[in-house]
C-alpha cells in the first residue's frame, strides 16, 4: 500500500470504547490470549475477549467434552476456569503487554457470584465486561438466567450496579423470544448485547449406543449456526438502541460483514479459530480490502445497513 493511499477505517465505537476494528475472539475459544501469541499479533485485534472466569476455580465437566458435527461442533467444557484471583494475577499482566482492548467474560451460578467477579475487576485495567447468562446450571429456579426475561433483568441490574466498566450481556439463543430478553437487559442498564452463545445440542455415538459427550448435551457452535445467530442479531437490532456484538459461525470476512449489515457493531470469532489460528487477521484484512474496493470510508457506515 502506497503511503498516499488512505487506509480504510475499520474503527468502531462499542459502548463508549473505541476499537481499532470490530474483530475479536469469542470467549472460551481463545484462552486468555497467551495460546494465540505464537500465531498472530494480538495488537491486530479490535479487542481480546478472555475465557469465562468465576469467583472461584471451576473444574468443568468430564471428557469427552467435544464432538464434531456437520459444519459445527459441540462442546461441554462446563466453564472450567482457575477463578478470578488467578486470572488477575496471571492473565491481566500478560494482556497489559499489548496495545489492545480487553473484555473479560464473567461466569457465575448466582447473582452473588457474578457480582463478586465484577467487583474484583473494578480497579483492574479492563475495558469491558461480558456477562455470560447462558450457563445451564444455576441456583435460582433451575433455569438459566438467559432464558427467563425477569431473571435476565434482575441479574443485569445487580451486576451493572457493581461494574465500573461498561457491561455487555451475552444471551442464550435457546429461547422462544430473543427480543424480549434483549429488551429486558437493555431496560436493566446493559451497555450492549452479545448474540449468540451456543445452541443446545447432542450427538449419539452409534458404536457405544450412548450419548457421545460425557455430559450428554453440549453447545453447538460453528458455521452451522450462523443463520440462527444472524437472524437474532437482525431481530434484536430492530428493537434496541444499545450496540450488539454478533457471534456465531463467523469464519470469513463475508460472514463478519453479514452480521454488521444485520446490525452488529462488532463481531466475535469462535470455532473458526480452531481450524485456523490466524483467521481473525485474515478477516480483518478481508474487510479492509472490501472497504477499499467498494470505496467506503469507514465500516461504521455499514452497521445495520441491511435493514431497509
Amino acid at each position: 500500500m502506497s503511503k498516499s493511499e488512505k487506509r480504510p477505517n475499520l474503527a468502531v465505537k462499542l459502548s463508549g470504547v473505541e476499537l481499532k476494528n470490530p474483530i475479536m475472539p469469542a470467549s472460551g475459544t481463545f484462552g486468555s490470549g497467551k495460546e494465540f501469541d505464537e500465531y498472530l499479533d494480538l495488537n491486530r485485534l479490535g479487542m481480546v475477549v478472555t475465557k469465562g472466569v468465576a469467583d472461584v476455580p471451576w473444574k468443568g465437566n468430564a471428557t469427552p467434552r467435544v464432538a464434531e458435527t456437520y459444519g459445527g461442533m459441540l462442546n461441554s467444557v462446563g466453564l472450567q476456569n482457575p477463578g478470578i484471583e488467578h486470572f488477575i494475577r496471571e492473565d491481566i499482566p500478560f494482556l497489559q503487554n499489548y496495545n489492545t482492548r480487553t473484555m473479560v467474560n464473567i461466569a457465575g451460578r448466582s447473582i452473588e457470584e457474578y457480582v463478586r467477579v465484577v467487583t474484583a475487576l473494578q480497579n483492574q485495567p479492563v475495558d469491558l465486561l461480558e456477562l455470560n447468562i447462558s450457563c445451564p446450571n444455576i441456583k435460582e429456579g433451575g433455569v438459566a438466567f438467559g432464558t427467563d426475561v425477569d431473571m435476565a433483568y434482575r441479574v443485569t441490574k445487580k451486576v451493572k450496579e457493581a461494574s465500573r466498566q461498561p457491561l455487555i450481556v451475552k444471551l442464550s439463543p435457546n429461547v422462544t423470544d430473543i427480543v424480549a430478553v434483549a429488551k429486558a437487559c437493555e431496560a436493566a442498564g446493559a451497555d450492549g448485547i452479545s448474540l449468540i452463545n451456543t445452541l443446545l445440542g447432542m450427538k449419539m455415538d452409534i458404536k457405544t449406543r450412548r450419548p457421545l459427550l460425557a455430559n450428554t448435551f453440549g453447545g453447538l457452535s460453528g458455521p452451522a449456526i450462523k443463520p440462527v445467530a444472524l437472524r437474532m442479531v437482525y431481530q434484536v437490532a430492530k428493537e434496541i438502541k444499545i450496540p450488539i456484538i454478533g457471534i456465531g459461525g463467523i469464519t470469513t470476512w463475508e460472514d463478519a460483514l453479514e452480521f454488521i449489515l444485520a446490525g452488529a457493531t462488532a463481531v466475535q470469532v469462535g470455532t473458526a479459530n480452531f481450524r485456523n489460528p490466524r483467521v481473525m487477521v485474515e478477516i480483518i484484512e478481508g474487510l479492509e480490502n472490501y472497504l477499499k474496493e467498494e470505496n467506503i470510508d469507514g465500516i461504521e457506515e455499514l452497521i445495520g445497513a441491511g435493514h431497509e
Binding site: 495460546e35 498472530l40 468443568g60 471428557t63 469427552p64 458455521p223 489460528p277
Partner: protein, 266 residues
Amino acid sequence: MVHKSIEKALILKNQALTPEIHEMVLGVKTTLGVTPGQFINLYCKDGSRLLPRPISISEADEKGGTLRLIYKVLGKGTEEFANLQKYEEIDYLGPLGKGFTLEKDDGKTETQETQEILIIGGGVGVPPLLELSKQLKGKKRVLLGFEKESILIEDFKKVATEVAVATTTGDEGIKGTVMDLLEQGAYAPKKIYSCGPKGMLKAVQAWGRERNIPMELSLEERMACGIGACLVCTCKTKEGPHEEDWSYKRVCKDGPVFKGDEVMFE
C-alpha cells in the same frame, strides 16, 4: 516476530500397511524442533468436517524434511486422508504438544547407554514410540500389543535391543496383551515410556508404580484447537497428596506426554 501458521505439506507416500492402518509421509518445510511424542493437526479438505485431526509424528527425518504418520482409518476424516493421492497437498499445523523427555532438567540426557529402558505401546499408540526409540540411549526393550496384525516391527527392530509382540487374536507374537509380555519377562527398567489405549496405560501405570519406576505416559483425548485454548481435551492430574487435590490439564498443550505419577485414570 514471525508467527506460526498452517503449512502445506506434500504427500510423498500414502499407503495401507494393514486394511485399517495407513502410512503417510509428508514433505514439509522443516522438521526442526520436533520432539518424539509430539503431534500435528491434520486438516480435512471437506468443509463439513471443521476440526483438525491430531496425528502423532511417528518419524521425523530432518535431512529429508519428512514427517511420517501412521494412522488408523476410524471415521470420515481418516477415510478422507486414506483417499488422498501421492503429490496432493494437505494442510497441517505443528509440531504441537509436549513430547517425551530426552533430556533431564540439568540438560544431561535422560537415559544412558547402559540403562534398561522399557517402551510399551498398544495399537495406534505404537507409532510415536518409533521416533522415541530412535532417539533414546540405553538398552531399549520394546513391548508392542495389537489386535490382530502388527505394524512397524521391522522399524523397531532396527533401533531397539529387543522387540516383543502380543496380539489379542494370537496371529502374531504371543496371544494376549502387552501386560502378559510384561508379566512374563523379568524386566527391571530404570524408566518406562508408554503410549496406547487408556486401559493399557492404566495397567502399565499400576505395574510401574508398584516397582517405583519413573514413567512417561502419552495420552489421547478428543480435541478441538490442539493448541491449548479451548479446554476440551483435559485429563485429570494429581496436584497434591490428597484425593481431592486434582486438576484438569490439557492433553494438547500440557501433554500429550505426562509424568506417570501425575495422571489419574478413572
